[in-house]
Amino acid sequence: MYGGGYVFCEPDVHGQPDDPERLAEFEARIDRGEKIEPQDWMPYEYRRQLIRLIEQHAHSEIMGALPEGAWITRAPGFKRKLALIAKVQDEVGHAQLLYSAAETLGKSRADMVNDLLSGKSKYSNVFNYPAKTWADVTVIGFLIDAAAIVNQVANSKGSYGPYCRALERICYEESFHLKQGYDAFVALATGTKRQREMLQDAINRWYRPIIHFFGPPDNESVHSKQLMRWKVKMASNDEMRNQFLDAYVPKVLELGLTFPDPELRKDPQTGRWHYGDPDWAEFYRVINGDGPCNAERLSARRLAEENGRWIRQAIMNPQQKFTIPFA
């Protein structure tokens, strides 16, 4: 899964200035649409921001496994149970792929995980909201995965080779998640009165986090110009949000469901969607650690890491009497 609303770093004023000739050469390659590979020269700032971006994406995949994963044991019926395990498994696989992509830039998986657990690294805000009922799982699988696809398809056209290749495979799997998510969503929308109510309630609760998903409006996002020039950031937050609303709001409305925002409408002149104030202060509160589930999610992740420590130590033991490649 994942999404937008990446938090890029403040430009590092203490960083080494880049050799202007190499920088010009690098930018010319990007302009020609070439991919940058791990062994290639790259500006200091490019590497730093990319690590941050891919790492956040990886964390979002692994943290995104938690709210849905909690429903695997309760998924109603074989079809939903099998689909949900497969989906969450994919998300964990995405984390693995993305950690490897980030490692090509020089930061180890262990360091990234430590920064996640200490709260230094961020991950997508949506996973700090609770999945209260089965309907939440269908809203996540349909709408959050749809939003993630908009974001990931954009990123897959970026300039860093390993990240693009990981994203191509990820997008392919995400499209299955979306299909299954939509199927489960429609089952509730066309189900009993209680099922419909449960679904409407979940949409009401998820609407704001979904609007937040792509990050603050463009006029509030800082220093994204250079990142767009370097094809690290591929589309503006507002563009992606608009693309998402345009494709998916009608799909929800046509099922007779509603959104809890009287201002939500498409401007027929500009073709752009207008939405009511989603309280961006809440977005910043949650990303800085003060959301409804931040503490719970991090402690679940911490516990999983703690529980795995003896296995990692045994496997990496230099005195080990026997080694084979890990299956």
Binding site: L66, T73, A75, L82, T192, A300, N307, G308, Q313, A327
Partner: protein
């Protein structure tokens, strides 16, 4: 009960309940690679249960698979105690998976010869997956048993706990003689013999040992509907959404 229905029910229930336990690790595995492996085996196991319940539905006029899986009460389940136990730490999960899947692979090897064709066909189909499950269990058991002092001690402790329970896998069915006579299944006694050989060999090679004293009734009862206290809460959770709305489709 029809002897074949009884046999298929217990096979399906073992796979369903153990698959459910495996899936509790999804997203919470001790390392990403194990998280993914466990999720994939969970899907295989639950898929096996679905296929077996489908045979009951199609060949014997039983209810549809969701009804079999999600609407029976605890007494109607025929799984063995070993699969009902909570996951505990990863060492217990791994040792259980090792003990169970060796039995499972050998069982389906025997069932390939079954005179009941749908079961023989299913056995041929699942062998490939089960070989992978056994390979996974063996390679991780080996690495951890020979890893360091802590990992060795953990596996030994879990083996001492789980091995006696594994006897319940081979608890004889009330129709054992009939199933053997009709060539449906070669029988639990033969299977247990074959299994013990495989397990002993490996355990020795990895500096582990099987516990000495064996409580004669440990792990037994599941095939007759007498379960551990862990099964009912598992079923409550498993069926909570499914049962929350009557005649709904999800």
């Amino acid at each position: 009960m029809n002897p074949i229905v009884e046999l298929i029910t217990k096979l399906g229930d073992d796979a369903f309940i153990l698959g459910h336990r495996h899936s509790e690790w999804t997203g919470l595995g001790p390392i990403l690679e194990e998280d993914i492996a466990m999720s994939s085996m969970a899907q295989d196991k639950i898929g096996h249960a679905l296929a077996l319940y489908t045979i009951l539905h199609e060949q014997f006029g039983g209810p549809d698979p969701d009804t079999i899986g999600f609407l029976r009460n605890e007494k109607e389940f025929r799984c063995c105690h070993l699969v009902e136990y909570p996951n505990g730490e990863y060492d217990f999960t791994l040792v259980r998976h090792f003990l169970f899947d060796h039995a499972e692979l050998l069982r389906y090897q025997l069932l390939r010869q079954s005179t009941f064709a749908p079961l023989a066909r299913f056995a041929a189909k699942v062998m490939g997956e089960l070989k992978y499950h056994v390979l996974h269990a063996d390679s991780l058991m080996q690495r951890l048993a020979l890893g360091n002092e802590e990992s060795h001690a953990r596996l030994q402790a879990s083996l001492t706990e789980a091995f006696p329970l594994a006897a319940g896998i081979f608890e004889k069915s009330p129709y054992e003689d009939q199933l053997i006579a009709e060539g449906v299944f070669a029988g639990e006694a033969l299977l247990q013999q074959q299994w013990l050989k495989e397990i002993e060999q490996r355990v020795q090679a990895w500096d582990l040992h099987l516990p000495e004293a064996r409580e004669p009734l440990a792990g037994l009862g599941g095939r007759y509907g007498y379960h551990t206290p862990y099964l009912q809460p598992l079923l409550d959770e498993l069926t909570s959404v499914f049962r929350s709305e009557e005649n709904a489709s999800w």
